[in-house]
Chain length 696, copies 2
């Protein structure tokens, strides 16, 4: 499955179970991604006989980790040891690899603390407190519409965030989270760790055994785990209140809790919004990813070095493609949007029976329907020039962030583009300034791909195309831009610190390119906010208001890549008449191996046959309600012990962003039992095992 | 635009103008692709004051040419000279190119007859007569359903075709054409030419100036023309009744006729069929083409030789992709399928008022709706194993044709798969046995692509995947299969002539692969015919029966890659408020050139500035109703003179397969005026000009 960042690039929207109950009906069965301040403990007690009391919740919250790379994780030992997925640290392993040393291919183990390696750009956050700031934000936007609405809201959010962390910015981060589509605004206060180091990662082919063909499938045989360590002041962080490590797997039917950061769900979208996704956004994403996938596959086949440097993008693109294809399949199913229309009619009928509410709410559904037409008109301009510009090019991201940061930092906090407000600058600076390898050949491929699509989508004769390309072809322009020196962290640091003057004086080709084109990108962004996202967000807020008035908080908010708790049980499912068992065992790995990629065992595992207990539970499924962003989340038993790490979801769950069906939606975990077995008997990581089991 | 073969591989279905009148209403405005035995001369007389009498029709029919490569053409001089498009002979130019001599890039001109080069696999056909065989075919299928219906129909068609050409197979070909979805069956008898030689082709970048970005757009500046010569007994064919060559362009508003072979339209599909196209077939095609496009683009960027050998597939894939994207856009427009549902309700209402007809017809719409569910179930198995197997691999096509032909030729004519009946064997043999270059690296890319998609679509665990891949990966299996020796025409000849025994004894890896897997492919084909195409075709025949009973032949049949005549006028259009003029001029070519591909002039044209008359009409548009397959069709004036060659259609026309709107649908031609000017003053082809203008 995918990290939330990958997903967010893709589209921030997702998908369904055909018979799921669409909101506004209350969450049924094991559905729901609950906030820690509104967890349905009574329902869990009634169904599973388990007491989830405030102490349990506080303990789990304090051990749950959000990674800035778009993943979840958990603290599982006393000295800052954090469990996550391999695919959450793949970029970190790659940062430290080169043509002769490949930690993605061969895995990584630091047997001594001084061998642990810094993950560039990675920040880990632990949620410290939640407070309600709804009144402040809604007061600030009263009477505003369109782009003005968005500006006023973002200015207020920036102010609240700045105040929330004032004086302690080095150790804390503050984020205002929009819940229920603007029905609630909450200030999330995080304890942050900016020094995160890699301790262990298995070989990529062991973590992702079965590769793209097995991705989102089950049965699975993947050791998709990793360990990083949090550091403070150059020393391992003290984390006494960690989750307790279980060396035993959960049992079939056992209740299971997942604490993590589901990225984005769209369960509250209107039928018209879902239709736009079905007819425009997702088909275009699938087309885009498919061509890029083709280019990256061929690029990777050209040499072993190309395979190494192309690996991260290829993995990410294939993963996102498969997820979006699942969403597309869910949306073209005729029952989904039809069910949504029925639910909408019911909500409208209830609103119309409450005259005061009806007057307050108006007809936001109609506003959203109108905005869909503007979405269609602006689609390619907005995505190609702004939202998805230079898709996946690190160099371009550096250039645009440097140019915009230099421009925005000259403005008052409340008037900046939202990603450059004070509360966000620290993470941005880390992302920009941490040294990371950049591969010019790959950058050139991605830049040329983007510029070609821009010309194709907007036509050769559009003023935008003429501005971005001039008389150059996409290929020659990309080759020129890829000579940028922004891959050098020192160059970036000089521009970051030099501010607007340094940026404007730069002769770097990408900086000059962004300086020449960015006004156009900003203009289409403003237009989009004025005609699409502004009206939509305001209309959604009205619908949310109606829902609150009628249903209160008996429903959970859509996912926002913030901490949630889902409950469920360990259970297989019925796949069109075929029973899929809940567990796989280590023995199955050797049975499935063919000797050829992606079903080949690494040398270490070829040699491990007979050294590990074949009856160890390897992977397992549960009916917890999760989506991308939950990658790396701890799977926790009723006693609060960690028994696994979520790393995937099954095919029926790909519609999960739009709804949930606990009969077939399943979360996939790698067991702590198999991780222990592997660390001990395959990787010789006895030191790490000792840390993990120190409490036993 | 694309040849019909490319299109057919894509999908045999296409697209619309939003406000077009959907059948069963009679054709309006300049809509229609009329057969030569049912041309609406009275309507043309009334609208344009032009008499299209039987002599005019016979003359044009006798000069109109169908090329087996999926294009149209016309005889334009006395000694077998035929005008078509560059993109219709691109494969021929490539056949004779190699690493040091590239006729696609540099163009080709035979100044002496002995320099004219054979186009491998190409057959040219001129329609000699049409006769009605509806009664024979419908009698043969009476009482049959599903796969049995298809078998009985195909057996009868095979018999009719064999009888039709008995004793003159060397010079004639016979084809039963299914009109009005089985409402009529017509025997088309063709005079055929199997020795077709290339005389002239401009440089690829001149023929396709603007490349993919300008494809399907207008204004255009493309010399997309070519000349081949028909030979008989080793000598130029005598073709005294050719179209007369005009050195002048048509005038704005002038009536214009297009005689050609539109490939496939789907204007009679039901709303349920269109929904399946929108939700399944076309999105999957777009995904498939996009990834293949990405691989081919990167392959082509690897070296100039890869660019040369990858060119044909890349051109074809990009072309098909763009056409299908236009279709998708037309289908997701909410008005199209809704209008179709209205038209269906009207037809059903009229049927229900005619009790006898209602009893005969039953409810074919419901049968078609049911078959759509089977289409969805069988989709990937049918397309990946059979209909689109080894997509675009020449070697695989050779292998499967050789294996199946060997098996089928042992059966009576009426019991064979339809593509191996006696009437089709001659063309098949020519396609198989003419020498053509095969590029193993490119074959390996395409085979690996196919096998990867097969595994992805059917899953790694399906019995099909296990049969096709065994324990090999797609990449290693493709590498092994690409070592096949079937690229050698002599090897193919030996297997063709050796029949089943030789095929079974072959140790060629692709022959062995097809022998091992083909039973599975044939089984899914039978299943598909039983559950999808059989029921659908039978239901369509019932709907056609109802339409005939109610509307007669006042409507034209869907396109079937057989000769049709469309009428219209030279006219620009209004593109969302911007007037697009009908003509471009040679001067515009230099204005549009940027110096960079695909807007770069070839050296010959760089030097031609000042040597050609800049005021010469270059390309022009008319509102003739055309679709892919019409490429190369003569654009003819009221006097029967050829004034241009159709080579493209505009973006709004991409929905043309589903309907037609003469306000915005336009056909794009290259003028004979500009061809003459270029032959004379750029290419120094005075001999060819003399032949073309000999009648002046």
């Amino acid at each position: 499955m995918q990290t939330w960042n990958a997903e967010r690039l893709a589209l921030s929207l997702l998908g369904v179970a055909m018979l799921a109950c669409f909101l506004p009906c209350p969450a049924h069965a094991d559905e729901g991604m609950w906030t820690f301040d509104n967890f349905p403990s009574a329902a869990v007690k009634a169904k599973y006989g388990v007491d989830i009391d405030p102490a349990w919740l506080d303990h789990v919250r304090g051990a749950a980790v959000r990674l800035s790379t778009g993943c979840s994780a958990s603290i599982v030992a006393a000295n800052g040891i954090v469990l996550s997925n391999h695919h959450c640290v793949r970029a970190c392993a790659q940062q430290h690899s080169n043509a002769t040393r490949d930690y993605v291919k061969d895995g990584f183990l630091a047997t001594r603390r001084e061998d642990e390696i810094l993950c560039a750009g990675m920040v880990a956050e632990v949620l410290a407190s939640i407070s309600d700031v709804t009144d402040r934000v809604t007061a600030a936007v009263a009477g505003k519409t369109g782009d003005e609405f968005i500006k006023a809201r973002d200015a207020q959010i920036a102010a609240v965030e700045k105040e929330g962390c004032a004086g302690k910015e080095d150790k804390y981060s503050c984020e205002v989270v929009t819940m229920y589509q603007g029905g609630q605004y909450k200030l999330y206060n995080y304890r942050k760790y900016t020094d995160v180091r890699l301790v262990f990662a298995p070989e990529g082919d062991t973590a992702f055994f079965g590769g793209d063909p097995d991705n989102y499938n089950f049965p699975r045989y993947d050791l998709d785990c990793s360990f990083v360590r949090l550091y403070e002041n150059g020393k391992p962080a003290a984390t006494p209140d960690h989750l307790r490590w279980s060396t035993l797997p959960p049992k079939e039917g056992e209740p299971l809790f997942v604490a993590g950061n589901p990225g984005t769900t769209q369960r509250l979208l209107t039928a018209d919004q879902l239709s736009t996704l079905r007819d425009l956004n997702i088909p275009e994403i699938l087309i885009l990813y498919s061509e890029l996938r083709g280019q990256l596959l061929r690029f990777s086949a050209e040499s072993s070095e190309h395979a190494r440097i192309g690996n991260r993008d290829l993995f990410s693109v294939e993963n996102s493609f498969k997820a979006n294809r699942g969403k597309e399949r869910a949306l073209v199913d005729t029952t989904l949007i039809a069910a949504k229309r029925v639910a909408e009619r019911e909500l409208k009928a209830r609103v119309s029976k409450a005259p005061k509410l009806a007057a307050e709410v108006g007809n936001p559904w109609s506003d959203i329907a109108k905005a869909q037409l503007h979405e269609k008109e602006l689609y390619f301009r907005y995505y190609d020039l702004e939202s998805r510009a230079a898709y996946r090019s690190d160099l371009f991201e550096y250039a645009r962030d440097l140019v915009r940061a230099a421009q925005e930092r000259t403005k008052p906090n409340g008037e900046r583009l939202r990603e450059f407000t004070d509360s966000r600058l620290a993470l941005l600076a880390k992302t920009l300034l941490d040294p990371q390898p950049v591969y010019p050949e790959l950058e050139q491929l991605k830049l040329a791909f983007w510029l070609t699509k821009l010309r194709e989508n907007l036509t050769a004769d559009s003023p935008d195309t003429r501005l971005f390309l001039g008389k150059e072809s996409p290929e020659t322009l990309a080759a020129r831009l890829a000579t940028s020196k922004l891959g050098d962290a020192a160059v970036r640091k000089a521009l970051w610190e030099g501010g607007l003057q340094a940026v404007q004086a730069s002769d770097d080709p990408l900086i000059r390119f962004v300086l020449a084109t960015d006004a156009d990108s900003r203009a289409v962004r403003k237009l989009y906010e004025d005609e699409v996202s502004g009206p939509v967000e305001q209309a959604q807020q009205k619908i949310a208001h109606a829902r609150f008035a009628l249903y209160g908080t008996s429903v959970y908010p859509d996912a926002t890549f913030t901490l949630r708790l889902s409950y469920g049980k360990v259970e297989g499912w019925d796949n069109n008449g075929v029973a899929v068992p809940a567990f796989t065992y280590l023995s199955g790995l050797w049975e499935r191996a063919t000797g050829q990629f992606p079903f080949a065992l690494t040398p270490r595992w070829q040699n491990a046959h007979g050294k590990v207990d074949p009856h160890t539970v390897f992977n397992f499924v549960s009916d917890n309600d999760i989506v991308p962003g939950n990658s790396g989340s701890p799977a926790i038993d009723a006693e609060g012990q960690v028994v696994g790490a979520i790393f995937d979801l099954n095919i029926p769950s790909l519609g999960g962003p739009f709804g949930f069906d606990d009969r077939v939606n399943r979360a996939v975990s790698v067991s702590t039992a198999s991780i222990t077995e592997a660390l001990r008997n395959v990787y010789g990581a006895q030191g790490l095992v000792t840390e993990l089991t120190a409490g036993d």
